[in-house]
Amino acid sequence: MPAPIRLRELIRTIRTARTQAEEREMIQKECAAIRSSFREEDNTYRCRNVAKLLYMHMLGYPAHFGQLECLKLIASQKFTDKRIGYLGAMLLLDERQDVHLLMTNCIKNDLNHSTQYVQGLALCTLGCMGSSEMCRDLAGEVEKLLKTSNSYLRKKAALCAVHVIRKVPELMEMFLPATKNLLNEKNHGVLHTSVVLLTEMCERSPDMLAHFRKLVPQLVRILKNLIMSGYSPEHDVSGISDPFLQVRILRLLRILGRNDDDSSEAMNDILAQVATNTETSKNVGNAILYETVLTIMDIKSESGLRVLAINILGRFLLNNDKNIRYVALTSLLKTVQTDHNAVQRHRSTIVDCLKDLDVSIKRRAMELSFALVNGNNIRGMMKELLYFLDSCEPEFKADCASGIFLAAEKYAPSKRWHIDTIMRVLTTAGSYVRDDAVPNLIQLITNSVEMHAYTVQRLYKAILGDYSQQPLVQVAAWCIGEYGDLLVSGQCEEEEPIQVCLVTLG
């Protein structure tokens, strides 16, 4: 039998296919060849065949017949085989299949292998797809590796431990001793994954959270060193020292400081420092600032710090970078309930965002605008929102209309204003209002006895011009039916009495 073709050749061949059918034919032919090659139990070419199978799998073709072959590769002595074998296992297998349990022994051996890269592969695979049984069996090995001095393995062991804890939460205690020295590491990779592990443990267990609160001073120190350290070429990203680690630590501080006065106080200074000193010209600086703001808002920070945070968000709203504007709006939405007054100060900027070209930003701005409407600003806000309703994309109209009705109901300064607003919505976006809007409106009109004449006149005039919007027509028809006498009797002082012509609604 001729040697199986190389991965590169297969890719080249497939790329020459001009139609989907041609591609399928080539793939089927190659799959058949691979199947026979597997049957021959050839060790030399197994690696190449599985690699090809993974490529075909990515294109959407079935590759499950290669699952056992991945296991054979994992059991091989060669690093090359193991590398593809583990990758295949991660892409093709999952814990729902019994086959995956066969990996447990191999992984156990490889976790103790003499080559660190083999150990790394085993940790990676266990950390990606290890089932609860596998995690239970191998947790001890992971814990051992968490204490090693080899930073390459230690960082992987930390993330693997996170996966083990997610699968088997009872095992969390077992990793506690190993966490003692994790923050003393110099290696940033290890520090980073250690913080992830600590975060996971704190989020899962209130006891762990209480236990780890004592780490706050150490975390503050590490963060301080990162900010003050000056230029460090290996960790520098656009002039900031390891922004990813800074963000991770800020997040852990958030969890530790929540609902705890002492911890919150211990981190007040560093948060203020980060908030004022971080360079904002590049995205990495803004990512750190953003995380700082979220932390300040979530812990028990002093009011001065909170105002600082909201002002940072306000500045973000004016940033040219649309991503920054988007996250600012998202954060303001989260804080608008608790810090309503501070957010109100930025209302005009937020309302300007309604005119942004970006759909995601418009949506956020709309939600935030509704959250900011109150008795004082209802008239001004409604003007802007009605204008928005007029000009926005169809996907927003239903939500916007509902929002306007709600706001009008809560804060309407007068009945007439209320009815005018509703009319405006019905005429602008009548076909987008929700079904329950019609009965609600009818209820409202019924209750506003003094407005009946005015209302029925306005409605009649509205549908004279255009009766394509069903909800409008429904309300109008009902109204005219109920108060038709008012329409022709000229009781409404503001409008001229009108001649009603029977209009057949086709």
């Binding site: 690696c47 959407g60 060669k78 690093f79 090359t80 950390g127 988007y326 996250v327 998202t330």
Partner: protein, 193 residues
Amino acid sequence: MILAILVFNNHGKPRLVRFYQHFPEEIQQQIVRETFHLVLKRDDNICNFLESGSLIGGSDYKLIYRHYATLYFVFCVDSSESELGILDLIQVFVETLDKCFENVCELDLIFHMDKVHFILQEVVMGGMVLETNMNEIVAQMEAQNRLEKSEGGLSAAPARAVSAVKNINLPEIPRNINIGDLNIKVPNLSQFV
């Protein structure tokens, strides 16, 4: 937590597909297609975040993407990840690819899908960020590639060729050829090593 990392070109052809949560194969392909359609609609001057499609569980998940020339890099993440942070992470991943492949282009990703997976494995593990220092990642990749090379690599063909030739039975060459009075001494041919 990162739920999935997808790389596809401007026509939706997948170049890298990695899920960190299990989905059946047909669903995986559907997600790739749906994500492509969502992302294709976006102008280049609007923000890089959008709500993920209906197939990927619920409103907790967002798609964060970057568009480089002919390729889209899309990370599907949940609310525990910082959106701006993930944008930076995508940049780190792409710059690492650039260092490993020397001015990476789409063809590199096409023909070295396995290598791209291996590089990604050093950046993200189990849906969590593992390492963000590019030099560190490149050094680890180089060491592992050297290890592979010393074993003969994926194809293993050159090693086979050598051993095949080694095993050929070269016919016995007489040391002395006697033709009448002529005596020709054949030089000692060195063994093919």
